[in-house]
């Protein structure tokens, strides 16, 4: 019985150091205002330590929701977790005149978009007629792609069509842009146009 009481005297959490008998909630019930053991007397170390994890973020970065064209403001909280920068929370930016801090379920899930393990972080390569993905270094991939662009362009170059100059290739096409930044679309359009590629399209068409 004594041993029993002695053990009960501490807060009995695996992670928490046993504390003095004075911290025994039942005793605090008797000695304090919280006779029924509903509040002050029974608080645990976990409760006492509660604070928002965002308060300890290393930095808070202003961002914009990546999903839809409403363009809600986001605040991105970054902390080092196991020595690695990690997004620990993304929530609405109350300062935004667009969204006033609010987010829809997609915006509210955007931390998961960034941190989900479903995200592929390595280059994958499938050779012609291949049955499986293979690894490939980014550098090699970039070179292979550049080679293919140059070759395809050379093969399919049209100087003219029906007697008029067209100076283009229809052997290369590109699709996408609505999820990208303006700067990215700008470089793409610039590069494609210089390459003479015209079949450049994005979601605005669909």
């Amino acid at each position: 019985m004594a041993a029993l009481l002695a053990r009960a005297a501490c807060c009995l959490d695996e992670d928490v150091e046993p504390t003095r008998i004075a911290k025994w909630p039942a005793l605090r019930q008797l000695t304090g205002r919280d006779r029924l053991g509903r509040g002050a007397a029974v608080r645990s170390p976990h409760t006492e330590a509660a604070s928002p994890r965002t308060a300890s973020a290393e930095r808070v970065v202003a961002s914009i929701c990546p999903y839809c064209a409403v363009g809600c403001g986001q605040k991105v909280y970054v902390s080092a977790v196991n020595g690695k920068d990690t997004v620990t929370q993304i929530e609405g930016d109350p300062d935004s005149p667009v969204s006033r801090g609010r987010l829809c379920p997609k915006g509210a899930a955007s931390k998961q978009l960034v941190t989900t393990p479903a995200r592929q972080a390595k280059v994958l390569y499938r050779r012609p007629f291949g049955r499986a993905w293979e690894p490939l270094s980014l550098d090699a991939a970039m070179d292979m792609i550049a080679d293919r662009v140059v070759a395809a362009r050379a093969q399919t170059w049209q100087d003219e069509r029906d007697g008029t100059a067209v100076r283009r290739t229809t052997g290369i096409a590109s699709l996408g842009g609505a999820t990208l930044d303006n700067e990215e679309n700008y470089l793409m359009k610039k590069l494609w146009t210089a390459l003479g590629a015209i079949q450049i399209e994005n979601q605005a068409r669909i």
Partner: protein, 296 residues
């Protein structure tokens, strides 16, 4: 024990729980008449509280309108209900809540409501918790202390709203904390913050009650006669909810109990009955032992 510690209006819940000094009681007013059923509240809650992710294999459609969450539970602390209702041709006057035009097939309306722990003034879960894992905070809210809960599951059956539940793989009971950690940092709860239409309003409970009253009047004036407040009244069976609601139909339509009463209201009488039973037991033994010892 002072009056109203088990039942009835309680002016100062935090004081009752032994906090000499404490902030104002805060709560939620969920105005379901402006809920768009987007479930941002569900997602924001899960993300903030890092609730366990579902097991991919069990993801199936419920067939309950757009509700695939089903109910509040240990891993869903907000639940948005979707009710598709036929509206009787003569039954619905208001124009503030849409219905399709009435034709031969009648009309339809679609009610959506985000449910959450009520943070009851008289919280049955808290009262029955044998470990003190459930605790009233300085803000007047009710939270489970995960470092204390031993998973006895008593709270599960005590809650008149079916809110709190034990997470079976973890063994502990979980429910909405009203983002206690955020409140401590001066932040608004994650769900209320996300809610696009302000269907979930967070703030000092007194102020919310006033806001709710005026919203109710607005709806009534607009012909929405079915609108009513739910759990706003400190005289109700749970002493009023720390989270209360504006509903457009009977509570049970939303899966809420129509007139919940904190079970502890009847506790003194129940203890008396237990005493009586103990006496019966003792008396029974006495009778059995009365008379001479058998000599056969």
């Amino acid at each position: 024990m002072t009056a109203n510690r088990l039942y009835g209006p309680l002016a100062d819940v935090s004081g009752d729980a032994g906090y000499a000094e404490h902030p104002q009681r805060v709560g939620f007013f969920t105005d379901t008449s402006v809920c768009i059923g987007c479930k941002a509240c569900e997602v924001a809650c899960k993300e903030w509280n890092a609730l366990p992710e579902p097991d991919g294999d069990v993801l199936t459609l419920t067939g309950m309108s757009y509700d695939n969450t089903g109910a509040l539970g240990s891993n869903s602390w907000r639940h948005v209900a979707f009710i598709e209702q036929p509206v009787p041709a003569n039954g619905h006057a208001g124009e503030l809540i849409t219905q399709q035009p009435v034709d031969a097939d009648g009309a339809t309306r679609w009610l959506m409501a985000s449910d959450v722990c009520k943070h009851c003034t008289h919280a049955a879960c808290l009262d029955v918790c044998p470990t003190g894992a459930l605790v009233r905070t300085e803000f007047g809210t009710v939270i489970v202390q995960p470092d204390v809960c031993n998973g006895c599951a008593y709270c599960v059956s005590a809650c008149p709203f079916g809110v709190i539940d034990r997470r079976e793989d973890d063994g502990r009971a979980w429910k909405c904390t009203m983002c206690y950690d955020r409140l401590r940092g001066g932040l608004e709860p994650a769900c209320a913050k996300a809610c696009p239409t302000d269907s979930i309003q967070f703030g000092p409970l007194d102020e919310l009650r006033a806001v709710a009253q005026s919203r109710l009047e607005e709806l009534h004036a607009g012909g929405e006669t079915q609108a009513r407040l739910y759990l706003d009244d400190p005289d109700d069976g749970i002493g009023g909810g720390g989270a209360f609601f504006l509903l457009l139909d009977e509570p049970e339509v939303y899966g809420l109990p129509p007139d919940p009463v904190v079970t502890t209201r009847d506790l003194p009488r129940m203890w008396q009955w237990a005493g009586a039973a103990a006496v019966v037991l003792a008396a029974g033994v006495a009778v059995a032992f009365s008379g001479r010892r058998d000599t056969a």
